[in-house]
Structures are given as structure tokens and as C-alpha cells.
Subunit: 347 residues, 2 copies
């Protein structure tokens, strides 16, 4: 089937570009000598996770237990959830996954660790944990090496919970003193630190430089989308994701309406929404829920109803979360239609 | 089951408030003497559409053929799609629906009308159309009464397409001359104008005032969410929708992280994201994909990991599009768990 036989709007992925992006970051990490752990939330598709593993990733990340359930069912066997798993229902699901795969989760409080331990006792299970450090990202994480040491001392006494090391995001040079002091304090206490997990697409070399034992990257497969919000850096030779739309109205000179809006494109970041491959001079100036509003005044092309326009969307992880299916294409041919199996797994 | 037995994040709907909102707008339109056509895209749940019909709505709107397929399958028999349906695949689906329900669609170009006519010829079907007028909304629609007249003259010659009248959005007083002149021009040409469809939650009285034969409303069931972006106007006695989250981290004084982010809340409008029911003094200051970042400095409450916080989200239609299920509650009890059957129907 040819791509133009698909009804729109439709989420497409150029498989040649995707494979090149997967290979490039895998090669980079191999050269740097740092293990790569890939984030499946960027695509939510088990086969892409397997491609990343085949290229050399040592494991994957999921952000929710529901996403991990999808990936374990698809045969992935080493998963880090860099997230505090809180509440008996989720902890039970996590511990059952831990019987089928190596599962590691973040903790930044005794309450979270105690919840894991209580759940482990229920089913005689075990789970690996990393203490999350807030080294400047200002999201979750303990605030100091001393706080990490205090928490580590408490965690090692909890049954069913195996402390493996520490985790932070993003990897930054400024984080090194925090990481070094934390590792030293834990080792002083006789706690083995097997894992220092850093992350961030584009931060692979810094992860290696600051002493991480692995680096987590996700959006690198979409290259540029989440990192670059400006139009100038979007390049169809590097960005494999595209939303193909149809012009449904050309109501007035300079105004073109396509059949994808906020349900198709995500509204984050709010502008410029995307780059048109066929006519890069087009500007998406607004989105209704189901309409994309395009200013075509900079174009000499005479747009007509029924014409197709393809856009590189700006946030891969949020865009894939809006679509039930993603179509993998080579040139103009459809090669695979994937279910976005991890879509909507918010729990 | 009690609401606090549900794992989070979870989308809840207070059924008492929902029913009151449905009844109030139905009563308003009855008093005004204008038929109400309700927009199912706001909720995407067939049972709610039936409640709206039971309260007096004369039909529903869907924004996509896929949404209409869900609603026809659930027994709804009068559907307007105020959207240009473009492309043979969608037109074929539309015309097959038109055998099972009264289907009406918008057109603003001869190309769209010709596509419908060509599809109708394929299956010996018929579909009703309204000419969309851009009376100032600056989205789709013909630009003048004369343009509407030209298009109408062309449409009446097309087999399989039954011109019923005109449509605009939103209903505004300034639109009256455009509407009146268009209707007069069509009637001069001997074209019966059965329908003048206006719309917009809160515009019901204006629709009546400017001579519409029906008014389309959708977000009224969530009362305030899409119309009021400021916190002060959110009121849990009027807004039935809420996202229940769990605190997963209290990493530093004044900072609380909950387990819902941009995949749970929508990132539109970008601030303030939502209003906390339990602690209205909280401010959601940011969203990552899976984390909600809350500034708790204005609160004297000492937040702890595991605590539940409920938020009124700001855009009903986009929020329901992120969730596979919605839970209907009365007080603290779960009464129904709905599949959001129209979610993700982007085609």
C-alpha cells in the first residue's frame, strides 16, 4: 500500500530515518563506553524498543507501570521506571512484573520505599530501587547527599527492596559533586553502588563524564522534536515522525485549514506546532480541537481542497500518545502499521 | 466501590453536577424556544449523549466521521458533522452511516460537495448538507452571502446531496446581516432554507435572537472549563469533571509532585492547568509528560506522599480525549465506569 492511500490525519514514521537515529545514538554510546537505556515513552511501540535493544541498548525505561506491562508482555526483560511508584494497586502490579523481568524503580522518600516493601511482603517478591537525586532538575529527588545517605540507610533495612544505586535527570556537569559525594557516603556506609543512572537526549557524553554507569535517552529517535522548538532546526532528513493531513478548506486568500488539530498534533509546545514538508513556508498559526489553521500568505502555491500536507510535529512523546496507530513507511510505501500499544497507559 | 479505591490518575465525573448542567441548558433552550443540538466531542460517551437527548436535545454533533460511527452504533439517529468531509474513504463511511441515521455535514466549497456527490453515486446514497458561513469566526466557511449563493446554486445541481440550509460558528449578533442576506438570496433562487444552525456554549440566546433554527452547544456540560481559563470562575458545584491524582513526591518545602502530567491533564490552555478541590490555594506551575508540578507555598497543609489531590481540569473535550475510561460518581461512590468510546477518533 502507498502512503497516499491512507486516510488522514495519520501518523507516519520514516523507517530509514528512524533506524539511522537509533543507530547513531547507539554508536555514540558505544564510542563513549557508556551503556544506553532507552525510553519507550517516546514511541510506546514494542517493536521499536526491540530495534533499540538490537542496536545495543542494555535496557529500557518506562514512565508508568502500565507502559512496563506492555513492554514485558512484548518480551523486554530489563526495565527501569524512573518514577516513584505509590499506592498498593500499582505496587502489586510492579512486583508481579518483577517476577517476569528485571524491574528497577526510583524512590525519593521512605514512604515510597516502605510501600514497595509492604507490597513485596504480600507476594514474597522483590524489586530493585535507585534513590532519585534532585541535582538541579527541580522535579522529584532528594535534595542533598546527606539526605540520600539518610534514605539509603533506611532502605537497606527494608525487606524485599534491593538498593542498587542512584538516579538523576538530566545529566549535567554541575551534578558531579552531588553524585560523587552521594556515592562516597553510601560506600562509607558499606552500601554497594552498582548503578549511577543519568539521562537526557544529547546528554550522553556528559553522563559518561560525570561518572554515570548508564545514560537514559528517549527523544533522540525523533531527533530534534523535543529539543528544538524553532523551525530552523527541523529537518526531514533527521526527523522521522510526520502527521499527514488533508486540506479541508481554503476559505479565504492566505488561509488553509487542514483536518488535524489539537487532538492530532498536541498543543505542546504551543507554537509553531509543526513544519510542513511540502511547503516549509507555511505557518501553522493556530489549532482548534479538530482544525489546523495555516497562514499560507508566504507561499506562491495555490492550495486546493483535498491536497495532502505533511508536518513534522514538535513533541514525539505527546504526539504518539494521541494516536492509536503509527504507520512505518519506506519512501512512499507502507511497510508496517503499529498499534501504539503503550498509548494512554497513565497508571 | 468507593472513589478512593480507584487507582490514580483517574478521570472522574460528578453525575449530580453533570445532570444539573445538562438539564439547565436544555431548560434554557426550551424557554428560548430554540432547538438544542449537543456536541458529543465534549464527552465522547454515548450514554451521556443519550442523557442529553432525553433532556430534550433534538440531535447531536460529531466533529469526525469516526465519532459519528460510535454514536450511530449506540443508537443516536440525528447527527450533524459541522465539518468538511473530504476524501473518498471518509465520504464512503459517511454515506453508509446516512443509511442508518439522519446525517448532515457542512460544506464550504464545490470540491467538498462534489466529493460527497461522487461518493453518493457509488452506493446510491444521499446526504444532507449545510453551507458553512464564515461570519467572523475565521475558521472554515464561505466569505460572503454572494459566495454562499454561488455555492448553493452549484450544490442544488449535484445528485445525492440535499442542501438543507446554512451553518455558522459561533453565533454572534454581528452575524445577523450575513445570515439574513444569505437566506434571502437562497430563497430568491427558490432554494428552501430549512436549517440555520448556530452555536457556541453560552450563545444559546444569541442563536435565537439572530434567527437560527437550532443552536449547537457542547462544553456546557463541563460548565466553565473551556470558557473560563481563570481560577476564580472554577467552581466544583458547577464543574463535574475532575482528575484525581496521588502525591508521589514532596521533594522540597513548597514543592509537591503528583502522578498526572501532560498525558493526563492536557497542556491546553497552558496555565493554570486546573484547580485543586481539596486545597484551592495550590498552584499547578508546570507539567512534565507524567508529572504535575505544584507550588504549595500558599498552603499551610503538610503534604505527604500517597495523599490524593483532585483537580478540575481546564478543557473538557481535550481531557476526555486523553483518557480511555471515565468514572461517574455520586458523592464518594462509583456509579458507572464508561469507556470514552469516541476518544481518538481523529478520522
Amino acid at each position: 500500500m502507498r502512503i497516499d492511500e491512507l486516510d488522514t490525519p495519520v501518523l507516519d514514521c520514516d523507517l530509514d530515518v528512524l533506524e539511522r537515529n537509533i543507530q547513531q545514538t547507539a554508536d555514540l554510546c558505544r564510542r563513549l563506553g557508556i551503556p544506553l537505556r532507552v525510553h519507550s515513552k517516546s514511541h510506546k511501540i514494542p517493536e521499536i524498543a526491540h530495534w533499540q535493544m538490537d542496536a545495543g541498548a542494555t535496557g529500557i525505561c518506562c514512565q508508568k507501570v502500565g507502559e512496563a506491562e506492555v513492554m514485558v508482555a512484548a518480551g523486554i526483560r530489563d526495565i527501569l521506571i524512573p518514577y516513584n511508584i505509590v499506592g498498593a494497586a500499582k505496587v502489586d502490579r510492579l512486583l508481579r512484573l518483577a517476577r517476569r523481568a528485571t524491574m528497577t524503580v526510583a524512590v525519593d522518600s521512605l514512604e515510597t520505599a516502605q510501600g514497595l516493601s509492604a507490597g513485596a511482603a504480600q507476594i514474597a517478591g522483590r524489586v530493585r530501587v535507585l534513590i532519585e537525586l534532585d541535582t538541579g532538575g527541580r522535579r522529584c529527588g532528594v535534595q542533598s547527599p546527606a539526605a540520600a545517605q539518610d534514605l539509603a540507610r533506611q532502605i537497606v533495612g527494608l525487606p524485599g527492596v534491593d538498593l542498587q544505586g542512584v538516579l538523576t535527570y538530566p545529566s549535567r556537569r554541575e551534578a558531579k559533586p552531588f553524585l560523587d559525594e552521594t556515592v562516597a557516603r553510601l560506600r562509607q556506609d558499606g552500601i554497594a553502588v552498582h548503578v549511577v543512572s543519568g539521562g537526557g537526549t544529547g546528554h550522553e557524553a556528559i553522563s559518561q563524564e560525570i561518572g554515570c554507569t548508564e545514560t537514559r535517552s528517549g527523544s533522540y529517535i525523533w531527533e530534534g522534536l523535543t529539543r528544538v522548538h524553532g523551525r530552523d532546526d527541523l529537518d526531514s532528513n533527521r526527523c522521522p515522525l510526520r502527521v499527514v493531513t488533508t486540506v479541508v478548506s481554503v476559505p479565504a486568500p492566505g488561509r488553509v485549514i487542514v483536518d488535524g488539530g489539537m487532538k492530532t498534533f498536541t498543543s505542546y509546545p504551543p507554537i509553531p506546532y509543526g513544519l510542513c514538508l511540502e511547503y516549509p513556508e507555511l505557518h501553522i498559526v493556530g489549532m482548534s480541537v479538530e482544525h489546523g489553521h495555516i497562514d499560507s500568505r508566504a507561499s506562491t502555491h495555490r492550495f486546493r481542497v483535498g491536497e495532502r500536507l505533511s508536518f513534522i510535529p514538535l513533541h514525539g512523546g505527546l504526539t504518539t500518545n494521541l494516536h492509536d496507530k503509527m504507520v512505518g513507511v519506506r519512501g512512499e510505501q507502507v511497510e508496517v502499521v503499529w498499534e501504539v500499544a503503550g498509548r494512554g497507559k497513565i497508571r
